[in-house]
Amino acid sequence: MTGFFKEVWSWLTTVDHKRIGILYGASALLFLLIGGTEALLMRTQLIVPGNDFLTAKAFNSMVTMHGTTMIFLVIMPLSAAFFNFLTPLMIGARDVAFPRLNALSYWIFFFGGVLLHISFVVGQIPRGGWFGYANLTSPTYTTDLSVDFWAMGLQVLGLASLIAAINFFVTIMNMRAPGMTLLKMPIFIWTTLVTQLLLIFALPVITVALVMITFDRKFGTGFFDPTLGGDVVLWQHLFWVFGHPEVYILILPAMGIVSEILSTFSKKPLFGYSVMVYSTCAIGFLGFAVWAHHMFTVGMGPWANAIFSAATMLIAVPTGVKIFNWIMTMWGGKIRFTTANLFAISFIAMFTMGGLSGVMHASPPIDAQHHDTYFVVAHFHYVLYGGAVMALFGGIYYWFPKVFGVYLNEAMGKAQFWLYMIGFNVTFFPMHFLGVQGMPRRNFVYAADQGWNFWNFVCTMGAYLTAIGGFVFIINVVYSLWFGKKAVGDDWNGRTLEWMIPSPPPVYNFAVEPTVDHLDEWWHRKYTSSGTRTDVQIEAHVDPSTIHLPGPSFWPLVMGFGIFVLAGGFFLDSYGATISIAGMLIVIISGYAWAFEDNG
């Protein structure tokens, strides 16, 4: 095999958490281009009233796929990229608990993304919203396969996340370096830990819901069909019991990243570390108690509304505590305004704004005004884009030198940051106005005499500005990978263990598995209590063949493909069952091959 094919094969069969992290990150950014294009298409349709750039059906598909893509194919895998790359490094381990299972998660995710996008190829793009409300999704009202692509796609993606969550939960609990107690773990590891628990507990609920809608569509059950004795509201409950923890799954990793970046670039430890830990746990736990705030206008009655309203306002408390802790981390610190830090600081402001609008519609009477208007669109984009996405970009700039051994260019980084910040705010701030002026969500056109024309135009301009920022980022990545300033190891004078090894890390991570005595262990090794620098250096390279590591395997790829085939069978009427059974056989056979593989 030529060198190229050998390289490709090594990526297809890798079980190295660092490479899997890169695979997740690259995939996520690719899907960001797709999801971003979907957004631009929507904004172009809405640039003027009564536009005919997109048909209603196409627009609904854009609404659905933009949301589905950004949530499941961008934010979650981008977060997974960080979990994968950083978790073993931050806890002082050589890899995760189950390296091949880790690769499997990636490949299932990959095939899930492919499955979802085959819908484009066959012209049956999901158009029922990212939340797939019944009974629009019933076989009566959506006769083509678009709902099935959405349901099976999500089912496959959910499986990937669940497997990864089990892997990371065990890794964090069981493979920390000696001396690293739970309260000496980096805060990012805490947010990762709680996120995995949320995934473990929330995913099964949507798994069941998706099975139920699939059965309604394929096997004639009537779970969500009132004419058959079912209930459409049941779908909403099941979806949001998953859906609400899902939004904390989206935001907690970002919060962990922000905490790490802020403390490094303020040259101060995170303020109130243990309070941050308890707040994270509280948010995770309470996240299961607030789901019906997405259903205030359904008619659950005053008691239900009041209880969920109170719980939702309660969850704002630990969240607010975190905001104060981040500000106090910076207060009195020696702040360096690197691109990474700009993203992290902007998170605090943007997420706070999103949190404020969220707390407003935590009140049911106010929500009755906000619900299904652009006010809600503004809210969740402030927390998910101004919040999570900005933080994730901060993480990219922060850890890029560690992953690739070169820094991203700071000038281009700052250009991207400002284009994003301005573009984002220009797009989404006016949506607060549009919302209270009554503009409904998910409508492909609006009339010219509603008074919404000006702000819609402004919003679209913001979207185009953001797209330019995206281009700058792409150029930055390509440029830096070739010409970027070399990184050596402790690329930002960091505090956590990943900064004590070379950049990029050797395949074995640590030459000697570290022993930990403190929180921010690496900082404590570098500086005495009086602040003088010790002479400790980053770890030197050693011969990798002296360190035992698990070998590569292609069974995860094969099994992932088997799951894809299994899911695919649901789309065909005549040979569907046969294909699904074939897929199951591939899974079973690859499972046995995997179990008996001498993987080292």
């Binding site: 065990v170 069981n174 059950t221 058959l228 209930d231 993987n599």
Partner: protein
Amino acid sequence: MGHAAHEHYTVTGVDNRKFAMWTLIGSECFLFGTLMINYILNKASTKINDPAIAKYLIEHGKKPFIAPTDVYDIDLTTISTFILLMSSVAMVLALDGCVRKNLKNFRLWTWVVIVFGLLFLGCQAYEFNHFIHKGLTLSANNFGASFFLLTGCHGAHVAVGVMLMGSVLIRSYLQPDWFDSVVVEVLGLYWHFVDVIWIIIFTVVYLLVYV
């Protein structure tokens, strides 16, 4: 497994594979919990939706409804519950045989787990067949739909367990010196959990509908 069992240092002292199985079990609490609540919410939805089945029932002098009490046979279900409980006992004895490296006991009790697991599945198959003959299919009404979804999911879990125990058994014949008690213990945890779910199903799904 295929290589020397990797017993790394672990912070908790619990093997990674065992920890992972417990983690999965926690997740499955939510899976079966959702299926159970779905059953509880749908068990009163007894009106037959399928016109052919409705016609069949009316022709036989019955109303076009099928409720749990019309089809459940508690005697049979009690027997299958016993069978599954016995399989759990066999499971701990199989593990005990493995830990003590007693090949005869290990194999014997693993056989018992598999046989009883298959007997349980046989009872389920008989019961499902019986219900279908009475007109209760997946699409007959939502009681049927939610019942089959829940018990079908449980049955699928039992089937997977039987397959995995079968693999263990075959391994013990092909490699008589293989006594990986961690693997057997992990499978045991899975098996007991599936039994625990049945304990709850027996009460909530079968017995409590009569109250």
